[in-house]
Structure formats: structure tokens, C-alpha cells
Symmetry: C2
Subunit: 227 residues, 2 copies
Amino acid sequence: MTTRPRASTEEVYARVRADLLGGVYAPGERLKSTPLCETYGASVSVIRETLSRLTEQGLVESEPRIGFRVRQVSVDDLRHLTSARIDIESLALRYAIERGDMTWESEVVAAHHRMERTPMLTADAPPRVSDEWEAAHSGFHGALLDGAQNPWLLGIATTLRDAGEFYRRWSQVHEPGRDVAGEHREILEATLARDADRAVRALAQHYQHTADILERALAERDVAQNS
Amino acid sequence: MTTRPRASTEEVYARVRADLLGGVYAPGERLKSTPLCETYGASVSVIRETLSRLTEQGLVESEPRIGFRVRQVSVDDLRHLTSARIDIESLALRYAIERGDMTWESEVVAAHHRMERTPMLTADAPPRVSDEWEAAHSGFHGALLDGAQNPWLLGIATTLRDAGEFYRRWSQVHEPGRDVAGEHREILEATLARDADRAVRALAQHYQHTADILERALAERDVAQNS
DNA sequence: TATTCAGAGATTTTCGAATATCTCTTGTTT
DNA sequence: AAACAAGAGATATTCGAAAATCTCTGAATA
């Protein structure tokens, strides 16, 4: 959100994407070019190109001649997304476990360690999930799949992860009783043991659990909005 | 490749994409803005936005400050693509068979019929695979998956199909002995019988068969180029 | 001879103004 | 009162020129 003069498309793209994933813009919110130009210190063509690319990724929606808006969220969409994500990440994880070398293993362990050592919640009241932890979390799941070595599969997984992160960030929910660290540890152990079935089961449960919580939050919000 | 004045981004995008899939541009070929502006009768910003979007889809590659070029092809990439495609389309086909309704069934049958009734080869010498058949073929495979009803999955499948079509179009190979129609019929029958395992097996074999042929053509071309 | 450097030309990238389109308000007609 | 039409303002879209950057050539230097 910092305002700087002169910015290349690549940079603006990265910043808008980060802001989108960081929950700066609400789902469905219109993304008008003029304000965005000022915010990111770029001209209309740069903003337009950025939004085009993000549309292709599904983070932004475009109605030609009307404008761009942040992707809408809905329970249905979340279900579809979760299903696709579990299916595809499971595939990738299986390949990774089958083919991943030692470098990959080390990266996974390192990413896990980084996540464990990053405090999940901020000191704010009410506490929010910290940006650092979100990044480390994303990094861990990315590292898990990297062993699959199929750029197509990894690209797809990244797109889906981004969309998922958007849901997660937007509904800053936190389930007190949940043992997230334990879930991650289980995935890590099964992966290192090269036990694909167990790892995939743990991964699927992890995502499904998150999705269930998000779905509940989403339903509540819908009820609140309609009243 | 038709030259018309005044074109909206959406239209230019569709035309460039079609030309890319239609084999008008060679893999690795540079896509310079000035010639493209003239070809499509649009200004540089429109072209740029189009290429950006296609880059996001993997049909075009971009090196910032250097330019855009048509996606490179390689045996390795083809293998990755084929693997991802088989895995993901299999998933989608299973969902479609599980959940598809009668409308879906009818669409599948209709698309198959359309493909069967379209002549595969042109009257040229040497005969080429006709554009109409390619479109019908793509339509059939698309119809198969549509029953899955998961927009995320379908979007991904489309992206991968586009990339595959690019390979297919570019290396206009035709295996005389191959019974493509039979392969399609097998997929269709298994699908209508709601026999997921059999349908998925047939689909995977179909794609693998195509990929093997393409790979051979690609390897030959590489040898020819390096001499 | 190999390497470096300068500069011309080609190309990409960015910009902001000009144009086209949409949206909402207000007034008119039925 | 309802439906429609006109117009003002907001906004998206397109354009082509200006600026930044890259690439290639050929001469100067070690």
C-alpha cells in the first residue's frame, strides 16, 4: 500500500497481488483504475495489465467495459476450490514423495522449522494471524510439493493456493481448540517416512478442516449481512 | 490472421490465442509488438495486455524488458504436460461420471457425433488435420469433463488442453495405422456406462498414445535441426 | 587477436490525453 | 404514476508519442 513514484509492471503486479492476498481489498469490491493508479504510483496501462493477469489467475474478476472487481467468495466456490486443491495437491505430494531427492527433503524440513519458530498470532487485541506466519505456512506447503518437479502441476497448485490464501486471509478466523502444529507435524512425518497414503490423508484432512472452519465463518457472515 | 481495424482487447485476445493454437507462430518465435499491432489492427497496449494474459496461461513466455515469445516446446515439457493432463482430466472425468446428469450425457453424445461426422483430414497434399476436426475434437474432450461441475477444475483442464493442442497443431503428425475414432468410441462407451475405471483408463491411453507420437516427431525434429 | 567501449538503431515499456462506454439523475411523455 | 429519453458525470478503453532499455556493430585499446 506504500505510495512510490515510478514502478514497473512486474513490481506493481507483485504488490497488488500481495495486497489482494493480504486482505486489503474485500471480495467483490470494485477495483477502479484511477484510485489504483494513485495508490501504486503507476499509469493506467500498468494497472490494467496487472488486473488482467490477476483475472487470468482467478484472483480478480473482469466484466468487459464495466470494470474489474475482487473475486467474489461463496460457500459453493470454497467447496469447489477445496475439492480441487485437495485432489491436485495430493497428486503432487505423491509424486514428490516418490521422486523427491535429499535437497527437497532438507527444504521441507527447513520450511517446517521456519513455520514452527514463527509466532502464529500477533500481540494485537484481538490477536490476528501474523503475516510472517502466513508466509511461512505457504512456504511449507509449497516446499512439500516442490519435489514433484512438474512445473505445470506446481503452477496450478500455486494458483489454487493463492485462491485459498485469499479465503483464509479474508476471514481472519482462529479456532482455539485446533492443533494446527500437530496437523503439520503429521504431514511432515508421513512425508519424510515416504508414506504417501498417510501423508496424503493428513494433507487432505488439514485442508478440509480449514475449509470447514472457513465455511462456517462465511455462512455466519452471510447471515449477518442479510439481516 | 484477418486484418480488421478497431478491435477490442477481448477480440484481439481471442484471435491471437486462436492463431497460437492454430500453429501460425512457431514455438520460441519472438512476438514483437509492432508487427503484431499491424496484424491485428490494435495499439501496443492492447497487444501487450493480450500477451500478458497468454503468458499467465503458459502459451506465451515473457522475459521482462526483452520481450514476449511463443512458448518453447521440449520433450521434457511435453512429458510433464501429458502427465499433469492425464492426472487432472482423470480426476475431472471421474467426477463427471459420478455426478453428471442427463443434459451432460446428451452434450457428450452430441459432441461425439459432431466429431465423428467431421472429416479429420483435408483434401490438401499432403493431407493436414482439419481445423474443423480439431475444434470438434477439443469440444468432445471438453464436453466429457463438463459434468464435473467444478469451475476450478474445468479451468485448469482447459489451460492444459490448450497447451496440448499447441503441441499437436505444431507438429502436424498423422499416424496412419492409428484408430483414433475407436479410442474415442471406447471413452464414450465407458463414460455412458458410468464405468469410471474403464473410462479413465481409455482416456489416459488416448492421451499417452498421442503424446508418444508427438514425442517421436519432436525428437526427430530436434535431430534434424541440430544437423 | 581478444576485449572493451561507444553509439546507432531496434524494441519494450510507460505515460497521459482522447475516445468510447456506462450509470445515474432529471425531466418529459403517455 | 410509470415508462421512457436525454444528458451530465464517472469510468473504462484505446491510442500514439515519449522515455527507457536492450542489442548489435565497429572502432579503439590492451
